[in-house]
């Protein structure tokens, strides 16, 4: 059964013309849902009869809402603009009440001017450049605060919120195991398959395991893990802190004498720095496993041969540098996630904006840091 409406769309407009006066008798319900129809009909009747005076009689109106009342006021003005007199007749107290909420001054009020950004290209370019520099300074300031807070936490271990660290280790690490494992297997599989297609041309299939393990341990393991953590946890950190800012929870922390960076950012950064290296090793192992699927099924290698060849290509130095890289990436992801969260000022839109910014900035920083590592490690070795 449908919900019965308070009013129907049923209405009638009965015109009566006496000499130069057109009287329009309204009957039935007039509201939002038949507004287009009855205003068009009224306009047509006035145009058809071309009177010198129009009287609109409301005695038969059974329902009128404020939008319909507004439409009659507009119609009255429209008729008067044609130099035709217009009168609204037989308004009951109820209908007068509805007309009373329509303020002519409000209808004529022009919107207040709202500050809008100039659309000049050079002004926008200048503003964007200034924003970029300011953002860079903000990040540097935040890094300083964060390092100070971490140093404080290390020198005052009792101030560390161990429970929070375990919580975020689970969130960023344990909960991410399935997706990191799956992506790593697939990446290992793809590298093995693509390298096999090339190496078989020169009969060097035996180097497929080395290539997979070398790529997974040195580059792809840390990078893929970092990008996944940035997408999962960096965004979550930014959104969580951003929402706390909007709800004035961060202000509450400040007024209670807590340093929000020490309270909110340090546990997240420490947790990420602990779990991301572990996830990176896990990712490399799954990558090698993915390559092994291709090696054993497509290249006729035994599991033993595949693993021996894989181990030959990597050294302890590679594993250690990969772990250091992973820890640095983790600090960058968690740090930028928290920094972006603290930049939120008001509303859901701001939270969305800075969450996106956290992920984009984290990926950019990961790639930049990886380039620096690549050059530095080349010279160290």
């Amino acid at each position: 059964m449908d919900i019965e409406q308070e009013w129907s769309k049923f209405y009638k407009i009965l015109p009566e013309k006496k000499e130069k006066t057109l009287t329009l008798y309204l009957q039935g319900d007039f509201g939002l849902k038949n507004l287009n129809e009855f205003t068009a009909k009224l306009g047509d009747l006035v145009d058809l009869h071309k009177p010198l005076e129009v009287k609109i009689d409301f005695s038969g109106v059974t329902y009128l809402d404020s939008a319909a009342a507004l439409a009659f006021i507009r119609m009255e003005r429209f008729i008067k603009d044609k130099n035709v007199d217009c009168l609204l007749l037989n308004l009951t107290d109820e209908i007068k009440g509805i007309f009373s909420v329509i303020y002519q001054r409000a209808l004529a009020q022009k919107p207040f001017k709202v500050k809008t950004k100039p659309d000049n290209f050079f002004v926008e370019l200048g503003e964007a450049s200034i924003a970029l520099v300011k953002d860079f300074i903000d990040v540097i300031e935040f890094v300083g605060d964060l390092l100070f807070s971490i140093a404080y936490a290390i020198t005052h271990p009792r101030s560390i919120r161990v429970k929070d660290i375990f919580f975020y280790m689970k969130r960023a690490g344990v909960d991410g195991l399935p997706i990191v494992g799956l992506i790593s297997v697939l990446i290992g599989l793809i590298i093995a398959f693509m390298s096999f297609l090339q190496l078989k041309q020169i009969g060097a299939n035996i180097y497929v395991p080395s290539l997979v393990s070398f790529a997974m341990v040195r580059e792809l393991g840390p990078i893929m893990t970092a990008i996944l953590v940035a997408g999962r946890s960096g965004s979550a950190f930014a959104a969580e802190i951003g929402t706390m800012v909007v709800n004035e929870e961060v202000d509450a922390l400040k007024t209670m004498g807590f340093d929000p960076i020490r309270f909110l950012a340090v546990p997240k950064v420490l947790a990420a720095m602990i779990v991301v290296p572990i996830l990176t090793i896990y990712s490399a192992l799954f990558g090698v496993f993915g390559g092994m699927i291709v090696g054993v099924t497509g290249l006729d290698l035994t599991i033993n041969t595949y693993l021996t060849q894989s181990l030959k290509a990597i050294s302890v130095f590679d594993i250690v540098t990969s772990l250091i890289k992973a820890a640095v990436f983790a600090a960058l992801i968690a740090g930028i996630g928290c920094q972006r969260g603290f930049k939120v000022r008001s509303g859901a839109q701001d939270v969305g904006k800075f969450t996106t910014s956290a992920v984009v900035s984290a990926i950019f920083l990961i790639v930049m840091a990886d380039s620096i590592f690549a050059v530095t490690l080349y010279y160290i070795r």
């Binding site: 919900i3 019965e4 409406q5 939002l32 404020s66 439409a71 303020y103 409000a106 209808l107 008001s346």
Partner: protein, 264 residues
């Protein structure tokens, strides 16, 4: 009750709300009459907001029905619920204006969704609604550029966009200064008198209750239901129940006084 009004527009029948083992209220029966301003009061945790959420179809009760024009809102189909929601307007405690939209876009949203009006008519209706709530000229502002009281008024303008039959208002004047609260009270009275809109209001503000309510319903946490019903004057002057008296006379219940024995 307003003059000449007797038809019940919403009937709450035997309503029970439970969360796990915690019963918020049980067996609540309540009728909302056409054209009246009904105020729901009670201490924190007595289930006022839960009752409101069930009445607007946002939450399912454990038992009971909410009847609106012959349809049970609780077991309504999605089409019926959709139709019901075109008949009601809701002002949330936080105003819940969409922060990414200007005021005019906030108000235009239901008009664009449910009517086929052209943009010039919608613009005029927006101006009219903003004029009604004394916010003429603010159509291009974002909610973040408004004060708390202005947000509430803008929320009322949006809730009134479709001229609803029933308007639900949650914590109307919570957190507002007395002058703004009085402005809102006057707006409610004017809207009710001029448009005949039925209103269900949850509020704690005693002055506001006495000024705007035709009828007051009081819920109690321990009784898990309605303990008093009547006009504000009746409840204030004639109620014998100590819980009702303590609310309207702003006194602690006697048992609480006895509990505080520090310094004795």
């Amino acid at each position: 009750m307003p003059k000449g009004v007797s038809e019940a527009i919403i009937a709450v029948e035997n309503l029970t709300a439970r969360f796990g083992n915690n019963t918020v209220f049980e067996g609540v029966n309540l009728e909302v009459y056409k054209g009246e301003v009904l105020v729901v009061v009670g201490e924190s945790g007595c289930g006022k907001s839960t009752l409101l959420k069930i009445m607007i179809g946002l939450q399912k009760p454990s038992e009971g029905r909410v009847m609106f024009r012959g349809v049970d809102v609780v077991s309504a189909t999605s089409e019926q619920l959709h139709s019901y929601r075109q008949n009601i307007g809701v002002l949330f405690q936080s105003s819940a204006l969409f922060s990414s939209m200007r005021l005019k876009e906030n108000i235009a949203l239901p008009l664009e969704e449910y009517t086929s009006l052209n943009s010039s008519m919608i613009d005029m209706i927006i101006k009219m609604k903003l004029g009604m709530v004394n916010l003429a000229g603010y159509e291009n502002h974002y909610p973040s550029e408004l004060s708390g009281g202005m947000k509430k008024r803008a929320g009322i303008a949006r809730a009134m966009a479709l001229d609803p039959t029933v308007l639900f208002l949650d914590e109307l004047s919570a957190g507002l200064d007395p002058v703004t609260a009085v402005e809102l009270d006057n707006l409610i009275i004017k809207t009710n008198e001029a448009l005949g809109t039925t209103m269900v209001i949850v509020t704690h503000e005693l002055e506001s209750i006495c000024k705007i309510a035709h009828r007051v319903v009081m819920l109690d946490k321990n009784a898990k239901g309605i303990i008093a019903e009547g006009s504000p004057t009746q409840l204030k002057e004639k109620a014998t129940d100590p819980r009702v008296r303590s609310f309207f006379l702003r006194q602690l219940p006697e048992s609480n006084d006895k509990d505080s024995s520090y310094g004795e």
